[in-house]
């Protein structure tokens, strides 16, 4: 399927073009921007990221494992009387539990982000020109004349048709 690549010089143009394309029912492939453009996710109709749930689950897991491990070592594996304190002295186990909750939530969230976004060391890409510098590019899944006109009206600096994928 042919694609349409429209390049803009500022975020307002990109946002206007994205909204126009969505309103006209033109399929939006993706947009490429030098920084996170606020409102672009809504304009593209992106779903909210579910990463928060991954983070929450990882945190709960970290907390459970940390508290469970401390209880196991102190009550089951080798109960040791330290200053007459109870073996299951839960309040004293809270700091380590907290730290491991945060550690697990942070590492799992970051790793999930990289996996889900197909990012990682050694990944080779041919990025669109200048999108990491000062250009905002919208890639549409339809290269027809009506889509071209929408992009022209939104003030695109350059409009280009391509046959294949972009990244």
């Amino acid at each position: 399927m042919s694609r349409l690549v429209a390049t803009f010089t500022d975020e307002a143009g990109l946002l206007a073009a994205t909204r126009a394309a969505r309103a006209a029912g033109v399929p939006i492939d993706d947009a490429y921007t030098p920084y996170a453009v606020h409102g672009l996710d809504e304009a593209m109709g992106l779903r909210r990221s579910r990463l928060t749930w991954v983070c929450f689950a990882a945190g709960i897991t970290g907390a459970t494992v940390a508290l469970g491990f401390q209880l196991w070592t102190s009550v089951v594996s080798w109960p040791l009387n330290v200053g007459g304190k109870p073996f299951a002295s839960v309040p004293a186990f809270i700091p380590v539990t907290f730290e491991l909750t945060v550690l697990s939530a942070a590492l799992v969230s970051a790793a999930t982000f990289l996996l889900r976004s197909h990012l990682g060391p050694g990944r080779r890409v041919v990025p669109l020109p200048r999108v990491t510098d000062d250009r905002f590019t919208l890639v549409l899944g339809d290269g027809g004349e009506s889509a071209r006109r929408l992009m022209r009206e939104a003030g695109a600096e350059e409009i280009q048709s391509t046959g294949g994928g972009t990244s």
């Binding site: 500022d10 490429y32 921007t33 992106l46 700091p95 050694g122 003030g155």
Partner: protein, 473 residues
């Protein structure tokens, strides 16, 4: 460019000179690609020499034993733990800027967060050295981790605050490093795309993880960034809380107080902001980033210093009051001894640097003067080092039993190790400013239009502008 309500007359632009998006890339990459200046080489030479001095004294200490330090049976903690608490505290400002100010939507943080986070990492590395060398036998340092062993297995004591410290510091370092690197990925891609083909480009290709600037990934990235900020915020508060518990859970007069956690956290942020100010004032002038790190940034940091310095001053007063009010003779003695005993000089250095000198920042003329801020930031750093020294040494040297009282003075190896830790910190920081984007390029671009619509990035497209559209079939 910026759409949502950032055109109020009350708002000032965050970036003091009009710049285009590409101009920001040029500014920051130009710095990375230029040859190091003579000033950089001098600074690096000094820092590296201090580091060598530190490595030498640590090597001597490890080969000989910690008897080369001035510690004795009464004063078992002194320079080493003072330095540890000092450096951990320095790191806290970096996380505060990158995480807490992010959650509060303080957009001015964008110019300073990258270098403040780097500062955190380097400060925590410096801090980590001290407990390790304090062990005397650092090659068995892994004993602090609960790993299956053939001694039973005998586990570590999870009820000990020193063990909590192990988990707090290692988690803090790991999460700060992840947060910092995630923030770097888009900028590394910007560098990659600006470089001509070659070794450097290949390195940045690997480091930038194949970032394309895709809006789908940006949306997910923003979620991750918010999650990490949300996790780092309670984490940073927990770290100095746990450090303070190293003292507060003991029975030593002067340490055994419930005020310690908030008092230590405020002190950490106070000293950390002083260090950020020191570094930023030097960095902005050496690298010519006065338009990115503006007087306003410095002034905002000065305001945070007034607040946290006020909390620290209040804590000093409260400690003294409670020592008297509790009616505990040992507690009362510990505090009178602090202010009038053999280490009174250290106590009064602490009070004048941390409580009296920041009051100058109430005056706008002073807190917008770069030389004044620079001198005050150094003064506060000195004062906060002495605060930890006072807390640790004056409480230990005269405790319950006068027959066990002792004095303490550092040997030259302790002084060299302290100097060496500064060498490590500045060596790492100077390398960082040469090889990585020292200012968050993407984030600064996103605030470029803040309160600045009239001077929009050229060419201003009064759209629709179909005549200008270049069409490629």
């Amino acid at each position: 460019m910026a759409e949502h309500g950032s055109l109020s007359a009350l708002r000032e632009p965050l970036i003091s000179e009009p710049r285009t998006l590409g101009g920001i890339t040029d500014d920051i990459l130009g710095q990375m690609q230029s040859r190091p200046t003579a000033r950089w080489w001098i600074a690096f030479g000094v820092a590296a020499s201090l580091l060598v001095l530190g490595i030498g004294s640590v090597t001597y200490e490890i080969l000989t034993g910690i008897g080369v330090w001035g510690l004795n049976r009464t004063v078992g903690w002194a320079f080493d733990i003072t330095n540890f608490v000092f450096w951990v505290g320095i790191g806290h400002a970096g996380t505060l800027i990158s995480a807490i100010l992010f959650l509060f939507r303080q957009k001015w943080r964008t110019s300073i967060n990258r270098s403040a986070e780097a500062m955190t990492l380097f400060a925590v590395m410096c801090a980590g050295v001290f407990p390790l060398i304090h062990m005397g036998r650092p090659w068995v340092g892994f004993f602090v981790f609960p790993y299956p062993n053939d001694r039973g297995p005998l586990w570590v004591n999870f009820r000990s605050p020193l063990l909590w410290d192990v988990f707090a510091i290692s988690t803090y370092f790991t999460v700060s490093a992840v947060f910092w690197y995630v923030g770097l990925i888009p900028d590394l891609a910007t560098v990659r795309d600006r470089l001509a083909a070659g070794m450097k480009k290949r390195i940045f290709s690997v480091l930038s993880f194949g970032w394309t600037g895709s809006a789908r990934i940006w949306a997910r990235y923003e979620t991750l960034y918010m999650l990490l900020a949300g996790l780092a915020t309670p984490l940073v508060l927990s770290v100095h809380t746990i450090v303070s518990m190293d003292f507060a859970t003991s029975v030593i007069p002067g340490w055994h107080t419930t005020i310690f956690p908030p008092y230590f956290v405020a002190g950490a942020v106070f000293s950390g902001f002083a260090m950020v100010l020191t570094l930023m004032i030097v960095a902005r002038s050496v690298m010519g980033f006065e338009h990115l790190i503006t007087i306003r940034h410095l002034e905002n940091m000065a305001k945070i210093i007034i607040v946290t310095g006020g909390i620290v001053g209040l804590a000093y007063g409260t400690e003294f009051f409670i020592a008297w009010f509790s009616g505990n003779a040992y507690e009362r003695f510990a505090f009178i001894n602090r202010a009038t005993g053999p280490f009174a000089w250290a106590y009064w250095i602490m009070v004048s640097c941390n409580v009296i000198s920041p009051q100058l920042l109430w005056f706008k003329r002073l807190r917008t003067s770069v030389p004044v801020l620079f001198v005050l930031s150094l003064v506060i750093n000195v004062g906060m080092w002495f605060e930890r020294f006072v807390i640790i040494v004056t409480s230990l040297h005269r405790d319950f039993l006068p027959s066990s009282w002792a004095s303490y003075s550092p040997t030259r190896f302790e002084v060299f190790t302290l100097i060496g830790s500064f060498g490590l910190f500045f060596t790492l920081f100077l390398l960082f400013v040469r090889v990585l984007p020292v200012i968050s390029i993407g984030e600064v671009k996103s605030v470029l239009g803040f309160a600045r619509a009239a001077t929009k990035a050229p060419p201003a497209p009064a759209h629709p502008a179909p005549a200008r559209t270049r069409e490629v079939a």
